[in-house]
Assembly symmetry: C2
Homo-oligomer: 304 residues x 2
């Protein structure tokens, strides 16, 4: 998108600048899109926008941008990739919330997509977001920032992490696991696929866009794997705190969580170890690793 | 897929050879896939296979192969593209059959996916097929038959025709249209998007894979557009014949059909005109257009 220029935004602790940038880009992409299709499909774009602009943390886009920063790629060049992973994350939440899967009526304090638009449109909005995620990857070509063979490498990585070998496979495992009785290896297997795969993809996607030394790819992979599990543990810990603080009732369907297998103290220690591993793997590049380190530190101490 | 060699199969009237080839390829792709992922996701691959191997006519793969033939591209080189459009067609049927959309308990005489596997797995199998359709497009790169920039052009075309501007947009229109009261422009708008877009994509995808003269692209577009509408009309006519012959009860949800707006005779005449247009647009290339012409003639007279 030409209007985002050739900037590289310095990563700040609260990453507000980056979040603003990705939000602007997503808004812009939807508006531009709306201009190219029939008005009759406006309800579909409205449902896509409703969930995309539902107040997410934009963690995955931030990881794409931070990883690009680590590799010296300008932030503006990877905005379509950041949008693509957010499209895929958002579609997975919409389908996950459906009555047949998690049956969640709310998402981030708002009615979930099927509650707001009905189940049929929610299913289609998810399908549309998944398809158009690949459309976002095509924007990389229109802009001409990267070689076609590199863009194809990135698409291949995205398919691998979003599909059967990754996120959708993880969803299947979650659906098929007996949630009243599971082991630590089982829960890690689910998380590594269901949430870890797309987080890892966000970190690795920029490595496909330019020639990158093998050592840096290894560092980023280590960061992504450790960070992905740490993020899930922090999510589980927040769930416990919320249920104590707000006396929140049980979910309609129980989730497999770390905190059902270990004490909050043990979970907190595991979280810290993983964050330490993530940070040490991208240290030693000076300023270049700073954005990734700040995201990792945010997850160590996050309150929401 | 090396094992499919460098063959170009001559199109035969019943196209059994081509159907066998695409079925072998799809089976092979699923089996190869199963070997690369955890056994725990086997139920997901089983659900994908169940619907992919549900006895479809393979119309879209046949169109990809016939269009490739028209352009002089060997059949074996476009098998991944043929599989990709069949993956996308199959995912759309699985999601379409869900209780929240068409609520169809059967598909091609077998229980629909959600009846066989439950709604959660059906939703995920659809998501998996859509994602892995793009994985199939990546096989084109592994094989090295086409230039990266050409493969990207094909992916872009596929996204456009499968997404909001095409098939998913058409599904939305179908869901949002008052089926007790619709006009001819409305029904054509739905069909052009819901079924026509992926049929047109099947015909046009091979034009993206090699340099092609503009005139041939125009011919194929004309063929795809006319054929797509003709196919829908033939479907509606078959529905009427089936309901007369087998006294089939009404569907759970009424469909918008041509035959609710015109007499069977008028629909038949419209079908013939469209098939004539399709055929005349790819005549004049001798043997090269023969496969497309035979598919068009099949739809003119088909009984199932």
């Amino acid at each position: 998108m030409g209007c985002f220029g050739d900037i590289t935004v310095t990563f700040s602790a609260n990453s507000e600048e980056q979040i603003k940038l990705i939000n602007q880009y997503i808004d812009h992409s939807l508006t531009r899109f709306q201009g190219t299709v029939s008005l009759r499909v406006a309800p579909l774009i409205e449902a896509m926008r409703y969930s995309l602009e539902g107040g997410g943390k934009r963690l995955r886009p931030l990881l794409v941008m931070a990883s690009a920063d680590y590799l010296g790629i300008p932030t503006s060049h990877v905005l379509p990739v950041a949008a693509a992973v957010e499209y895929i994350h958002t579609y997975s939440l919409i389908h996950d919330d459906l009555p047949a899967i998690d049956d969640d009526d709310t998402r981030r304090g708002k009615p979930s997509s099927h509650k707001a638009f009905g189940e049929a449109i929610a299913i289609l909005a998810g399908d549309a977001l998944l398809t158009e995620a690949f459309g976002q990857m095509m924007v990389l070509i229109e802009e001409g920032y990267f070689q076609p063979s590199h863009v194809l490498g990135a698409i291949k990585l995205l398919v691998h992490h979003a599909g059967v070998a990754g996120m959708v496979g993880g969803q299947l495992l979650d659906v098929n696991t007996d949630h009243s009785n599971f082991t630590l290896p089982e829960i890690e297997f689910i998380h590594i696929h269901k949430t870890g795969a797309l987080i890892l993809a966000s970190v690795l996607l920029p490595t496909k866009l330019i020639p990158v030394e093998e050592a840096k790819v290894r560092n980023l992979r280590k960061f992504g794997e450790s960070f992905g599990l740490a993020f899930q543990i922090s999510d589980d810990l927040l769930d416990i705190e919320a249920s104590i603080r707000y006396s929140r009732g049980p979910r309609k369907k129980p989730k497999p969580t770390y905190t059902r297998l270990m004490s909050p103290q043990e979970a907190k220690e595991k979280l810290n170890r993983l964050i330490d591993t993530a940070i040490s793997s991208v240290k030693g590049e000076g300023e270049r690793g700073q954005a990734l380190i700040e995201i990792a530190e945010f997850v160590r101490t996050r309150k929401k």
